[in-house]
């Protein structure tokens, strides 16, 4: 495998609420012999503040992130929207500061989403995982429209033994999360989640997966409220070969 040591960039929601997703990612790395390290001082990339318009506050988080990860060989994160934040919004935040701007660009250039890193950078298409059951895949917006990552996760899923991938209708339509949007405009957010869930249920798949825990948390939260039985699993959990959902 690649000699580069991966610096784990663990999204705050994964750290605090879904640590099993982070553990699953390391399991995959272990299986593939990919070396990694974890800068334990990391907190949040700043996306909630940025998307809400609080750019100065987001810039403080960005500055800290850049300092923390500057020495990394390569940075890998199991969340598309966080990677999009680092790659695309960090340089914008420092548009008026040439030094920070170029540092932001440099960080962005070595930051990858988990499935993107495996497939595009390491050319791994089969992680040797097993899973029994059918799964449907949700294309999260920043991952799909922002980073243009749609084939990589599907390639990895298709190579999981025992897994049947069933595509849902409108898999690329927003689930309604939208960060603070979800709490500020719950009526709209839930209506969007309902449409997503109806499409998930229509596939008859036993589990829904994706590359962004925030979207999955939205789907999970609504599924739970509706009393639906569908499992919600981050793609790392499937690729780690887990048989059951821990979420």
């Amino acid at each position: 495998m690649s000699g580069k040591t991966v610096s784990l960039f663990i999204q705050c929601l994964i750290d605090t609420m879904f640590p099993e997703t982070g553990l699953a990612m390391i399991e995959v790395f272990d299986r593939l012999g990919i070396p990694y390290e974890y800068p334990t001082g990391q907190t949040c990339c700043g996306q909630p503040a940025f998307n809400s318009g609080y750019q100065r506050d987001a810039a403080a988080a960005a500055r800290r992130f850049i300092e923390l990860f500057e020495s990394a060989e390569v940075i890998v994160c199991p969340s598309g929207s966080c990677v999009y934040m680092v790659r695309h919004h960090y340089p914008e935040l420092f548009a008026d500061d040439p030094d920070m701007h170029s540092r932001a660009l440099a960080i962005g250039a070595k930051t990858f989403e988990f499935t993107q890193y495996l497939v595009d950078e390491l050319e791994v298409v089969d992680v040797g995982a097993e899973f029994s059951g059918s799964v449907t895949y949700h294309d999260s917006c920043h991952l799909n429209l922002g980073l243009k990552i749609a084939d990589q996760p599907r390639t990895l899923l298709k190579n999981v033994r025992g897994l049947e991938l069933i595509e849902m209708q409108d898999s690329n339509v927003c689930c309604g999360f939208g960060g603070t949007f979800s709490v500020n405009y719950p009526e709209i957010s839930v209506a969007m989640a309902d449409e997503k869930i109806d499409n998930i249920l229509a596939t008859g798949a036993g589990a829904v997966t994706g590359c962004d825990i925030s979207c999955l948390m939205n789907i999970l939260g609504r599924l739970s409220r509706r009393g639906e039985e569908v499992q919600v699993l981050h793609i790392a959990q499937i690729l780690a070969g887990e048989k059951g959902g821990k979420s």
Binding site: F18, S52, Y54, V183, I188, L220, G221
Partner: protein
């Protein structure tokens, strides 16, 4: 624009979500036109076309004054009148003056969003002038005293039964829900209005500086009649709707009709550039082009928002936006709805006033994908939120939500100090305990969290965070010793 002191975005959104009829219409609209446009872009042979048109649109803004002067002088040379209106009021006053001079009793309108933006109809009606919309959708809206809910398909919120009932009541025909019969009824009523009209009032899809002509697209032929039968034609033009050359006009038009209605070309395209002349005997005796600023110069002057002026008002972003797809157009409470409305309405009419439009989207990016000229609306939504977050003198905007601002100040303190951050998580873990139910979910929260639990459950903070688990395993050293991992793998 009408003023709406209290934002009703959420209430109106809920109404839209609760209407099965609207949901069905929006679903059909997005399935057909949203997906259709994406399909066209995916198969467009000329991969550079959209980028090229966008580039040309932006380049034109660098010397908009020169292009507008060229347009005006070419129109004037053909005997047309050109008036530059700084404000909505100026445009209305000029049009009223033209109407009075020509003793206008009835105005027939071609579909124009700009006429709604400047709210000209009440001003004309206030002078005793009858105003008749001639676009079928707008006519239906006008008959019902309703408001449009889509830029291109104004009565998308109504179904044929509702329209049948409306026609029975207003046009006195026997009830039918058969679209061709209803269309014929409208056609008959409108034709009578057309034949006795004193003035045609239209918008302007594109204006070409090189040729000194404006273009109007339609599929019903109403615009051709409204611009040629009455003796006077007044065209309202947003000052950004200019293209430099006929070649640029061709490409832009091709994108417009494809994006708006999946058409290579609309059924009618009218090129209009002056009053009737010796060679063309069918036109109006007077042609007036009113070029309207109404806040556009201010947008032009701000590099952050200038890009929104590249919009050609095709309405495609409405046909893909998942938020518009749930709530419909009325919730936006503005002539411009959907993603484009969420950016342009605050800029033209007040960012604070339209704060809910700035904040009420998920920034999913679908609008940017479908836009024929690739306008980055999500970027500008975030920029508008930035104005609301801290206030902006330039945009005369005050801080929208001080409590939220304090919240993010606190957030900043936490995320820039990991010791605080971790302590905060521990405190949260302690206080969440009474709220975690048997299914290991939280279903009721107070404060900001109540928005989440209104319709969803929330997983609690984990017993141990990833960081805590890591430190248990590897200690607090930053990198895990590689040997430790290797031993583990081998063992």
């Amino acid at each position: 624009m009408n003023s709406h002191p209290h934002s009703t975005y959420r209430e109106d959104a809920q109404k839209g979500i609760d209407s099965p009829r609207l949901q069905k219409s929006l679903h059909n609209l997005q399935n057909r036109f949203g997906k259709g446009a994406m399909d066209i872009w995916a198969h467009l042979e000329d991969r550079e076309m959209r980028r090229r048109v966008k580039k040309a649109r932006m380049k034109n803004f660098d010397h908009l004054d020169i292009l507008l002067a060229e347009l005006a002088s070419n129109v004037r040379a053909r005997g047309g009148k050109v008036y530059f209106a700084k404000t909505a009021r100026d445009a209305i006053d000029y049009t009223l003056e033209v109407a009075k001079k020509n003793q206008v009793k009835r105005v027939v309108k071609g579909k124009s969003m700009l006429s709604m933006e400047i709210d000209i109809d009440p001003a004309l009606e206030g002078e005793g002038i009858e105003v008749v919309e001639t676009d079928l959708g707008e006519y239906i809206i006008q008959l019902g005293g309703d408001k449009p809910s889509h830029i291109i398909a104004p009565c998308i919120h109504l179904d044929r039964n509702q329209i049948g009932e409306l026609f029975t009541e207003k046009l006195g025909i026997d009830f039918t829900n058969d679209p061709p019969t209803l269309t014929m009824a409208a056609r008959k009523a409108l034709r009578e209005k057309m034949l006795g009209a004193d003035m045609g009032l239209t918008g302007c899809n594109l204006a070409c500086a090189e040729t000194g002509q404006i273009s109007l697209v339609s599929n019903e032929g109403n615009i051709r009649m409204a611009t040629t039968i009455p003796p006077v034609h007044v065209a309202l033009m947003g000052m950004e709707r200019i293209v430099a050359t006929l070649e640029e006009h061709r490409e832009t038009l091709q994108l417009l009709t494809r994006a708006a209605a999946l058409q290579k070309l609309s059924t009618y395209v009218s090129f209009l550039g002056g009053p009737t002349g010796q060679t063309d005997s069918d036109g109006p005796k007077e042609f007036h082009l009113v070029i309207i600023d109404n806040g556009r110069s201010k947008i032009l002057a701000d590099p952050e928002f200038r890009e929104v002026l590249a919009c050609i008002r095709c309405g495609a972003c409405l046909n893909i936006c998942p938020v518009y797809g749930q709530i419909g157009g009325h919730a936006y409470n503005s002539p411009y709805c959907g993603p484009i409305g969420a950016v342009i309405s605050p800029l033209l009419d007040g960012i604070n006033k339209h704060a809910d439009l700035c904040k009420g989207e998920t920034l999913c990016g679908a609008c940017k994908e479908i836009c024929p000229v690739q306008i980055d609306l999500p970027r500008m939504l975030a920029a508008l939120r930035h104005k609301l977050a801290y206030g902006s003198d330039r945009w005369n905007t005050s801080q929208h939500n001080p409590a939220e601002a304090y919240g993010f100040t606190l957030w900043r303190l936490l995320v820039t100090r990991s010791a605080f951050y971790r302590a905060f998580i521990k405190i949260g873990r302690f206080f969440q305990r009474p709220f975690v139910r048997k299914n290991k979910m939280i279903s009721k929260m107070a404060g900001i969290g109540s928005g989440w639990t209104k319709g969803r459950d929330l997983p609690p903070i984990a017993k141990k965070t990833f960081t805590e688990l890591w430190e248990e395993k590897y200690g607090k050293e930053k990198p895990a010793p590689p040997t430790a991992r290797e031993e583990e793998n081998n063992g």
